[in-house]
Subunit: 208 residues, 2 copies
DNA sequence: CTCTGATTCAAACGACCGTTTGAACTATGC
DNA sequence: GCATAGTTCAAACGGTCGTTTGAATCAGAG
């Protein structure tokens, strides 16, 4: 159809992101991916080595800009003194939803992919996501604890897990078949609503 | 090994609940289920008709007691006048986690199964869950709106979706490979922590 | 042009999938 | 006893899966 300015490798990553995000890892075949990417089946094993290695590469590529932006914001916040809980929550949530905001269609695909992988039925696959978000996790937990001195460490960790979960949930659009969730609202408003929801929960919903 | 006091049909449902909850629908084969249930492969199609029909039956069986208890609590609350947001949240969350509390090992398996199905990558399968929780959803939304008159209807729906999502998340134990999430704490405390988290978010985290 | 390494290709591999078949077994009523 | 309906069984069905093979094609350097 159009001139393949993208390499086979890039096309495979793009389609994998889209299809894995739609049907999950087990529910998506390499044949479906390679057909949509106009590539040969053997190309996957040539460029990546296996189906799971393709997934790994797609996860790493999709998470990279999110992690970079989170690190940047965290650096910036901490350079200006102890950040508040709201600032920390914002620095975590917004990079995940800005994928949709700033990068349009492709960004929405990446966000859904990330959210889906984070809750894949297989623990081995969920760990791919965790491995990518792990490195900055300790920083967030420590900063959150400092911003919420009244909360117990386990309570802060509980809140962090909930934040991570709710973000992935909205990213994956897994709530689509539910009542008010069908209305795919403006991602900007979604971010603000989610942040307000989490800030209230962190500030007053964690046990001492 | 042991005397099969359970019928083949019951054993299939029990094992399906366990395996689907571990590996998801696509990631679990009928052969794996029938071997673990000490049943013939054809037994699935004899008793249920297909793999998806087996899943449907397992979902319905697992959700029934939860829905019954939610309805009962809702009736009871509404009979005693307009319920508070906390009462409503409690009436929604506790039946989902009491599975683990009151029914021990089997209950934990059922909870994980429900939570997993609620976020299955395939929308067709997620809809099986939605179909089971739909009937009382309108009642909860209306009651929550009445308890939170300051919040916009879309905000109440947003909160409801988040409540539903966080509950399913903890039920599915999908956060196991995350930091503080590994500590599978006392389900009773988990319920209290989750309720406190949600109450704070509902009371002060929803936009007008 | 020739050589070389990178990439693509059609085709096949063995394994596993959900489903179906038809016979064998079981229990119950007559 | 026999007949009947309910259940289980081994075996096979066609199809799809991820992966591998070895030849064909391509691009760039000498």
């Amino acid at each position: 159809m159009e001139t393949p300015v993208e390499s086979t490798r890039e096309r495979l990553l793009n389609v994998a992101e889209q299809r894995f995000g739609e049907g999950g890892y087990e529910g998506t075949s390499l044949r479906a991916i390679t057909v949509a990417a106009a590539a040969n089946i053997a190309a996957v094993n040539y460029h990546f080595g296996s189906k799971e290695a393709l997934l790994r590469a797609a996860v790493a590529r999709a998470m990279a800009p999110v992690n970079t932006e989170r690190r940047r914001r965290l650096d910036q916040l901490e350079a200006a003194g102890p950040p508040s809980a709201e600032q920390l929550i914002r620095a975590f949530v917004e990079p995940g939803l800005d994928l949709v905001l700033r990068r349009g269609e492709r960004g929405a695909v990446a966000a859904r992919f990330i959210g889906r992988i984070a809750f894949d039925p297989s623990q081995r696959i969920r760990e791919l996501y965790v491995a990518e978000s792990d490195p900055i996790e300790a920083r967030y937990l420590a900063a959150l604890q400092a911003a919420l001195p009244h909360a117990a460490p386990e309570a802060v960790a509980f809140g962090y897990v909930n934040m991570l979960g709710l973000l992935a949930l909205h990213q994956s659009q897994a709530l689509t078949p539910v009542p008010g969730g069908g209305e795919l609202e403006d991602p900007g408003k979604l971010a603000e609503n989610l942040i307000a929801f989490l800030v209230a929960a962190f500030d007053r919903g964690l046990r001492a």
